[in-house]
Amino acid sequence: MAKKKSGNVEFAPRGIGDEKSGAVQKGVDLPAATKSKHKDLGLSAAKLKAMYEQMYLQRRFEERAMQQYQKGKFGGFLHLYIGQEAISTGTTFALNDDDDIITAYRDHGWGLCRGITPSEGMAELFGKATGCSRGKGGSMHFAKAENHFWGGYGIVGGHIPIGGGLAFANKYEQNGRISTCFFGDGAVDQGALHETFNIAQLWKLPAIFVVENNGYSMGTAARRHTVADIVDRADGYGMKSAVINGMDVFSVYEKMKEIADDVRKNSEPWFVEIRTYRYRGHSMSDPQKYRTKEELEEYQKIDPIERLKTYILENDIAKEAALEKIEEKVEQEVLDAVEFADNSDFPKDEELYEDMFVEDDPYFHT
């Protein structure tokens, strides 16, 4: 018989209030950004401006969406991507247009990158028939399958195996396409990730699994919900891996391009940890007591959109006025999108029963 122990027992690590010497806690440690200039990366001035426009669009789209939500124009969940736009933008510019993308519910930015128009996106938020998912999905389920954007998914970790399955089909068909699957740091703790990684490595699936580590899973800091550095998971599977600074679009673009080339050539999976930060609460009803204002401000100081803007101006790629023109154009597009969504019709009653089965007149139990 072992002797009974005495002393304090605890399980989950403690959160804020526990840090030393009043230092500002950091949600994630960002690795150094790339030193490469746009020319080293093969990015033209036009491409840079397009990147800027894309990031600015995502930001303004969501800021307007938040406003409309607060006005009561639509309900349900609204998870904002604000702060993380360099990841969607850098990635989509690095991939081929027919490579697959699948993500979690924080999906607006991804959808806009993959050709969901601001109007189709806003209308989806409003639950209108003109939305990208015909009002059936809402904020969490933006999708544009024809552009190989397979959508946003609401069960944490649920789409990780599906990302592997997209890659499986590409390998099966030998079509040269690769698949990318994005998820949050919270999803790393799901068993689905581990099962998928093992199979993906064993079967050499052409997939890139990417954790967008924004430091928090709802109200739980990453160090309170997961052990070690997330990226180290790859080692256990002998999977290639990388860590990227997600607050810098050049870093994302450069590394994702390199990795995509490798996956396309060798048909082997990668696990990539992109570190980033979400500025807003988890969703619209989050008092955010788990982090400090100071911490948030640390990351807002290195805002990815401002960073690109500064680069463009300092390197004389475009004048302030030219960027302002882009901003005005985007602003108008987003306002038009709100108007479009507002004026669009809700789905017709009979659409409740559409999209369940492939048949025109399927069986429904009553």
């Binding site: 605890e10 399980f11 989950a12 609401g154 970790g157």
Partner: protein, 327 residues
Amino acid sequence: MAELQFREAIKAAIDEEMAKDEKVLIMGEEVAEYNGAYKTTEGLLDKYGYKRVIDTPISELGFAGIGVGAAMNGLRPIVEFMTFNFAVLAADQIINHASKVKYMTGGQIDCPIVFRGPNASAGQLGATHSVAYDSMYAHFPGLKVIYTSEPDDAKGLLKSAIRDDNPVLFMESEQMYGLKGEVSDEEDYIIPIGKGKIKREGEHVTLVAHGKMYHLAVQAAKELAKDNVECEIIDPRTVKPLDLPLIIESIKKTNRCVILDEAHPFGGLAAEVGFLIQREAFDYLDAPVQRVTLPDVCAPFAKNLFDLWYPSVKQVVDAVNQVTYRN
């Protein structure tokens, strides 16, 4: 009697049982430092500390199973799911392990665990966040399933669930957490599992309704009373074991029945209760039993479709009119 919100009644039940028994602990996503995603565990971390109020990673299968193992090994865990829609990931532990371990070890091992959290739809949250799982779990031998409608029931039944030596699923609703109601302040207030309650007496038709559907039944009964149709409302409170005698007694009086169920129609509670009524009270029925359920379709996001999808007072009134041949 004290007026409590649903969430306060749940918290009070957990608090009282934790105070009484050192072996009781609670774990789940955001239950500790965040004070609960829906604040049903507010203040418990401060009171009981990090040992007994435990934040988990988003690993439903893992922490549900850790709960099962801990229960087998002498503790009495309460495992909170942010919703039962996410407990689907933990279904293996609930269905293949918690429910079966006692039987397959010839009675050697008990599994006194409570799995709890909100069930069913909570508004426009889309297809994956809107399913009612009470009937599904009730299908499996070895599980007790509770889905209450009012704070008083919640408190008394949750306390029973925590004390029960079997695995119990205790279901709540995001949309009811703010609901207020009188809760008995009797010391150590316990409602036995398996006992339903007649919550409104009436002579013309029996409405069987639990969980959120109970409140729909109340509204429908009010409407119908204006037309002098008096509904008797039975809230089974516990889905399994089901208080069939209470339902049958009522049918013998009213001779008509409408069942409300927040699940899809195929094989749900409404199907089961309907079958039992015809088996036990066939000769007393003056009309075929009707039911109001969700349609056989996923939850849509769009507001108008959602409203169409979700059971309505009008559907209940129509069903009552049908069984009373008033249309």
